[in-house]
């Protein structure tokens, strides 16, 4: 594996996408041949409510530079209320992460519906650029030499 250094560094972003809205939106973006950066790694989840806040910490530990959680718009949840819980959970988690010293912007959440392919593309573009500006994340990250 080639070493990653300052020259060839690219932000690596973990994106949790709800199966019913955002993942479908991402699919639609693909069908429409929309271009967005390949910096995100999508994990499909049945509902944004499936995303345990510990997943976010785990993402930073394992070397992601940013974590994005996406779900249906409030009111549109396939399971009626899952994303209302998500909203509370991550309003709190976002603040805790910032208090813990993770830079603002490393963790983000967005509501993107199945029809919003363009919003998905724009979100990925915007989040990637924001995290690129922040640079590689070293906080809460396991040591590079696997120790």
């Amino acid at each position: 594996m080639a070493r990653i250094d300052a020259e060839n560094w690219e932000p690596k972003i973990l994106a949790f996408c709800c199966n019913w809205c955002t993942y479908t939106g991402a699919d639609l973006a693909g069908l429409n041949r929309m271009k967005y950066p390949d910096n995100i790694r999508i994990v499909r989840v049945p509902c944004s409510g499936r995303v345990n806040p510990q997943f976010i910490l785990r993402g930073f530990q394992k070397g992601y530079d940013g974590v994005l959680v996406c779900g249906c718009h409030p009111g549109d949840c396939h399971y009626t209320s899952g994303n209302y819980f998500t909203r509370r959970r991550f309003l709190l988690m976002k603040r805790l992460l910032e208090y813990a010293g993770i830079e603002t912007g490393r963790f983000q959440a967005r509501w993107i519906s199945g029809a919003e392919a363009a919003k998905f593309r724009d979100t990925v573009l915007k989040v990637t650029e924001e995290i690129r500006a922040l640079g590689p994340n070293h906080r809460m990250k396991e040591a590079d030499d696997h120790e």
């Binding site: 530990q61 819980f85 509370r88 309003l91 709190l92 805790l96 010293g101 993770i102």
Partner: protein, 283 residues
């Protein structure tokens, strides 16, 4: 305080003699003048060994879990902090109110190394919020103790300084889990750290894993913390854990308008419910 101690002993003696309770959880003496130990009075004659003084630092509420599967009624001394912890444990489905007999004691704060204990400094509920009988007269509550002062101070530091602050503090952690075991809100049957090979929590005691544990625990109890300060008191390494918990308490109060945890045994807590009108930041 010796009046309270005498009344407590008399009452416990009668309660045990009458068979109203099978055991009473209070404090007892140790060989050191400035320390007490949780004491379990099983027989009327044990009541005379109960102690109540300014060194009763332990929050007793979690010992009530020892009786969770017992058919008998357990008695327990409750000050403000214990009463809220009992409410918390009932709300979390771990205790049944009818199987507890709560002897309330208004409290003016305990001593630690000769001055007011840190855990009592920001107390807003010196009088028990629930009890079956009260010993002594209610005391005046502290008016608006600046409980979020330390949080606000750290919030105003730079992101880098905040990170360094917590990493330095968690570098001290020895992962004894005293914070978790003393905490009335940490009442899971099985803690995520004990889940074998789930990979949630590395067992290696390094700063990163320690801080992952610290932040995760804080989040897990964030909406249920009763601010009793036991975690910080029992930490053998002196990590300022309440500075973390109060951050979450503060955010839960300001974001969701929740009342303080443990004021009632109502099961709702901020992350267990929602409001359609909650703040929208993710659009």
């Amino acid at each position: 305080m010796s009046d309270v101690q005498n009344t407590l002993r008399d009452r416990v003696r009668s309660l045990l003699a009458e068979g109203k309770i099978s055991c009473f959880i209070g404090w007892g003496p140790t060989r050191f003048k400035d320390r007490t130990i949780p004491k379990f009075a099983n027989k009327p004659e044990d009541a005379g060994e109960l102690v109540y003084n300014e060194h009763c630092l332990s929050n007793l509420a979690k010992y009530a879990l020892d009786f969770q599967f017992s058919a008998e009624v357990a008695g327990i001394a409750v000050r403000g902090c214990e009463s809220r912890a009992i409410n918390r444990l009932i709300a979390d489905g771990r205790l049944t109110r009818s199987k507890l007999y709560l002897v309330g004691i208004p409290c003016e704060g305990m001593l630690e190394n000769g001055s007011t204990a840190e855990k009592c400094a920001f107390c807003r509920h010196r009088n028990p919020v629930v009890y079956d009988e009260l010993i002594g007269e209610p005391v005046a509550e502290q008016e608006n103790p600046p409980r979020f002062e330390q949080v606000l101070e750290l919030e105003s530091a730079s992101s880098e300084d905040r990170y360094d602050f917590w990493q330095r503090e968690f570098a001290k952690c020895i992962r004894c889990y005293a914070c978790r075991n003393a905490c009335p809100a940490c009442n899971c049957m099985e803690c995520y750290t004990e889940q074998y090979r789930t990979g949630w929590q590395g067992k290696q005691a390094n700063t990163l894993e320690n801080s992952v544990f610290g932040f995760t625990r804080a989040y897990h109890i964030g909406d249920r913390c009763i601010e009793c300060g036991e975690c910080e008191r029992v930490c053998p390494m002196g990590i300022p854990l309440m500075k973390l918990n109060r951050k979450l308490v503060k955010d839960v109060e300001s974001l969701f308008g929740s009342e303080e945890s443990g004021l009632s045994d109502d099961a709702s807590h901020a992350l267990g419910c929602y409001d359609k009108e909650d703040l929208e930041e993710f659009m």
